[in-house]
Subunit: 192 residues, 2 copies
């Protein structure tokens, strides 16, 4: 059950057999049926989720009741509201499952314990935090771009999302209407 996680760690750090054996104790395996909320707006995010099956999304609900997607997470990805977790403040986000999913959950406290027990995990999480920072900054720059450019960027980076995630969810992530997305997709397909 932890193979994908251990493999992910192995991309960035070297773990001994002894360390690998210790890891599962820090995580809780959770099944997440489609539409189930893992995090609800207004509550404090308790830890970090590593996706081993299915697709999760993180979104906020705006004043008009629209759901604005800020992140998708497929297998081998982390998802969490790190801001809420680190500052211990209520989240402005929801996290739910777009498909039946399975995650490995590590609480904030267990993460701190993991750093003490397996120090090389500090290297891993330093790198993961660098990635999270870059992804957030990319998102800020991304939303300042014209619609067409956003879609091209998205396709370049996340073409495989197109197969897994409904069009209206992608439109929400891109910050555009479903109609605009259809129009832009049409133009892209025509130019191929």
């Amino acid at each position: 059950m932890h193979e994908l996680l251990i493999k992910n760690f192995g991309k960035y750090v070297s773990l001994t057999a002894d360390e690998i054996n210790k890891i599962p104790a820090f995580f809780v395996h959770k099944k997440v049926p489609r539409k189930k909320l893992l995090l609800e707006e207004g509550s404090v995010c308790q830890g970090d989720y590593f996706v081993i099956k299915g697709c999760l999304r993180q979104y906020e609900t705006d004043a008009e009741g629209r759901e604005n997607v800020v992140q998708f997470a497929l297998e081998d990805w982390w998802i969490s509201d790190l801001y809420s977790m680190f500052t211990n403040t209520p989240s402005v986000y929801n996290i739910d499952a777009l498909e039946d999913a399975e995650v490995l959950f590590i609480s904030h406290a267990n993460q701190e314990a993991l750093f003490r027990e397996i120090p090389v995990m500090n290297i891993y999480w330093r790198i993961i935090m660098q990635h999270a920072f870059v992804a957030l900054q990319r998102r800020v720059l991304f939303l300042q771009k014209p619609l067409e450019e956003r879609y091209h960027d998205f396709l370049q980076r996340y073409a495989y999302f197109e197969q897994r995630i409904p069009q209206h969810q992608i439109a929400s992530y891109l910050g555009i209407t479903r109609e605009s997305l259809s129009r832009i997709r049409g133009a892209v397909l025509k130019n191929k």
Copy 2:
């Protein structure tokens, strides 16, 4: 010259005397006269700056030629375009000095060498990356708030900036005009 930096490390990790002696070799001391650019839009950010004297700012120039401040850094703070540094892509930001300043600069390559030479630095930078992530997320949420709220948030968190940084720079950081800032400040002072 490195006392402030060593003290800053000491807030988060314990260093041996031997490790402390090794640290200066990884940094370059730079004097930065007022208005001098440390990073220029279009070039790749080469590393991270720790301020030991003065005040730096990070800003972008928009299509209308306006300078939009995204961060100030006073003594004991880090400043850099981490996105540009980690992705090795041209920066959209400038970093310059608002006052005559002094910094300790660590190049990206030297930072990687520091992690190998003094592994506990991975803990320090994991925590610094968490702070950087939280600060960036806070900025995203901040710019979605009404003007008055932004100024109140700013005062709560950064009241000491008011003494050091010109009003038009603060207005730029808050994403409001100088006139709006004057109006809001007037209302705040009247209510005191």
